[in-house]
């Protein structure tokens, strides 16, 4: 079952009165997000990630294209969608002098939660986000990490079926980022929330996402499971060996994409390390090479990102 089905979403921003400037932010984006999954959207700055998320969050109207969220039409039934969706921004801001519990209470009211249910939900979220000790602290006195946890708590106030996360760990310390990532994974596992995650951090996307879309210049260049994307780009696995003995000639080795020998370290890029390693080791042994150390390095999503960010894509 698809929670998000978008087709051909386009958006161009026009600024200026006398000399209007047009900037195309989305140039026909289509995507489908399965229920209960985490779907990542990655891409360079200005790729259109926030624009896409804002359209799906109903705070920006697309120029053309259509989308269905939670079985409702985005343009015809936005109010029904808003009731069951929420957004967490990496650079979230709330009214400066309201206290943590008051901010959650305010948004609970906006979602129409009655007094008792609202109080219960606020307490649950304070506890889950480890904010209970800070409940009476004004927003402008919170650290960046606490602000981010509050943003996450606010995003869950209405028990959303679809949660949009716009760079939720940006600017956080590594330990705080780890905590937030664990909470995101927990949301999917425990509550079955469908999550759309925009991120700059490839490791985050690789750890959390079932599928990832690469957005560039307002278009999706590639989409799939992280492992599929790596395979699709033929980035290959790197096998690094520290060796001694005569310099081998590996030309013609099946599955070999490239190789280099420098200062006693042989680096071979092969299509699939597990399949090619035995043949490589046998060849080296036959040529009298002694292998002292061996490492296999699989490409990560960052390599995929770098590849797609290149101008020819």
């Amino acid at each position: 079952m698809w929670v998000v089905e978008a087709e051909g979403l386009r958006k161009t921003f026009v600024t200026g009165w006398l000399r209007p400037r047009r900037r195309e932010a989305l140039a026909g984006v289509s995507l489908r997000v399965a229920a209960g999954s985490i779907y990542g959207i990655v891409g360079p700055n200005g790729a259109g990630k926030t624009t896409l998320l804002s359209i799906l969050a109903t705070i920006l109207t697309p120029d053309s294209g259509r989308a269905t969220l939670l079985g409702r039409d985005l343009t015809r039934e936005p109010a029904a969608i808003r009731q069951r969706l929420n957004l967490v921004s990496g650079h979230a801001n709330f009214v400066w002098s309201l206290r943590v519990a008051e901010i959650l209470d305010f948004y609970g009211r906006l979602y129409g939660l009655a007094a008792r249910a609202r109080a219960r939900r606020v307490e649950e979220l304070l506890e889950w986000c480890e904010l209970t000790p800070y409940r009476a602290v004004p927003y402008n006195e919170l650290s960046t990490g606490l602000k981010q946890r509050l943003a996450l708590a606010k995003g869950l106030i209405n028990r959303p079926a679809l949660l949009l996360l716009d760079e939720p760990t940006v600017g956080l310390d590594p330990d705080m980022a780890l905590k937030v990532r664990a909470q995101i994974a927990d949301l999917k596992a425990r509550e079955g929330v469908t999550i759309l995650l925009c991120t700059h951090y490839m490791r985050e996307a690789e750890q959390l996402c079932d599928r990832v879309a690469f957005l560039k210049r307002g278009m999706i260049l590639a989409e799939g499971a992280p492992a599929d994307l790596k395979r699709r780009l033929h980035l290959g696995d790197a096998i690094r060996l520290r060796m001694s003995g005569p310099a081998p000639d590996l030309t013609g080795l099946p599955g070999l994409l490239q190789w280099a020998l420098r200062d006693g370290e042989l680096t071979c890029t092969v299509d699939e390390a597990a399949a090619r390693l035995p043949g490589l080791l046998a060849l080296l042994q036959a040529k009298g090479v002694r292998v002292q150390e061996l490492r296999v390095i699989e490409p990560d999503l960052e390599d995929v990102f770098v590849e797609y960010a290149k101008p020819h894509h």
């Binding site: 920006l60 009731q83 921004s89 709330f94 400066w96 309201l98 008051e102 906006l110 129409g112 927003y139």
Partner: protein
């Protein structure tokens, strides 16, 4: 209905909490209105105005202050989010502009009524101004008319914010000055050049002031200033509500909601 009350109540409670915490709010509600009343009251003494003419001028001063205090609260319903760059979170929630206006206006009505009480008491004590001379019903209608006018002005500020962004926040403080000129706050509207007087007649506060001042012996320019003033106030509020709804849709189209959140 319960859900609507909760949603509108969000803005009422938030404005209340912000008011309670901000010492400068006392300046808005008490200090500036009192300073304005004292200055104008002393001017009436200097000019040796009679009691009814003094009442004419002080009525305008008090009306203007009540409108200013109340309309600020309506504008704060959006301005707090604009200043804290959280506008998108407000519009992401399943609320309508009616919730924003109703909740923040209710808090504005409380603050406006408080400002009125303070100024009326101060006016009576310092300048012998009898606010009950016109009668209780005109007094209630006067306050209602001021608060209705304030709702219209606050909604207009919100509309301008959604259409023009940060540049329009100045409207929260400047729109009331337009009323001061056009509505005959310190003088009868007929003193204005004809086109401005005609424009003044289209504003609800003009009728409200004329209706109330009739109780002090100043004949209104029209047969039913109360009816005209209140009808215009309700009409503008409804029209403002629809325009605000349109402005919110426009802000979603233009990306203004995002720009106001960056």
């Amino acid at each position: 209905m319960r859900s609507h009350t909760i949603k509108a109540g969000a803005f009422f409670i938030r404005n209340f909490r912000m008011t309670r915490r901000n010492a400068f709010t006392l300046f808005e509600v008490l200090f500036w209105p009192a300073v304005g009343l004292a200055s104008v009251g002393l001017l009436t003494r200097f000019l040796a105005l009679d009691a009814d003419t003094t009442a004419f001028v002080l009525t305008g001063t008090i009306a203007l202050s009540v409108v200013q205090v109340c309309q600020l609260d309506v504008a704060y319903g959006l301005l707090f989010d604009v200043w804290s760059k959280s506008v998108k979170h407000q519009f992401l929630a399943p609320i309508g502009v009616g919730h924003l206006v109703a909740g923040s206006w209710a808090m504005g009505a409380v603050r406006g009524a408080l400002a009125f009480l303070v100024m009326a008491s101060f006016g009576a004590w310092a300048f012998g101004f009898d606010f009950f001379k016109a009668g209780l019903l005109p007094l209630v209608l006067f306050l209602l008319g001021c608060l209705l006018s304030a709702a219209g002005v606050g909604v207009l500020t919100c509309i301008l914010l959604l259409l023009f962004g940060y540049r329009a926040e100045v409207a929260a403080w400047s729109l009331v000055s337009m009323l001061m000129v056009l509505c005959g706050v310190y003088y009868p509207v007929d003193l204005l050049p004809a086109p401005l007087a005609a424009a003044g007649r289209l504003l609800p506060l003009t009728g409200i002031l004329e209706g109330f001042r009739a109780g002090y012996g100043f004949a209104p320019a029209t047969a039913s200033p109360w009816g005209e003033g209140l009808a215009l106030g309700v009409g503008y509020l409804l029209a403002g509500g629809f325009t605000l709804h349109w402005a919110a849709r426009s802000a979603r189209r233009s990306g203004m909601l995002l720009r106001l959140s960056e």
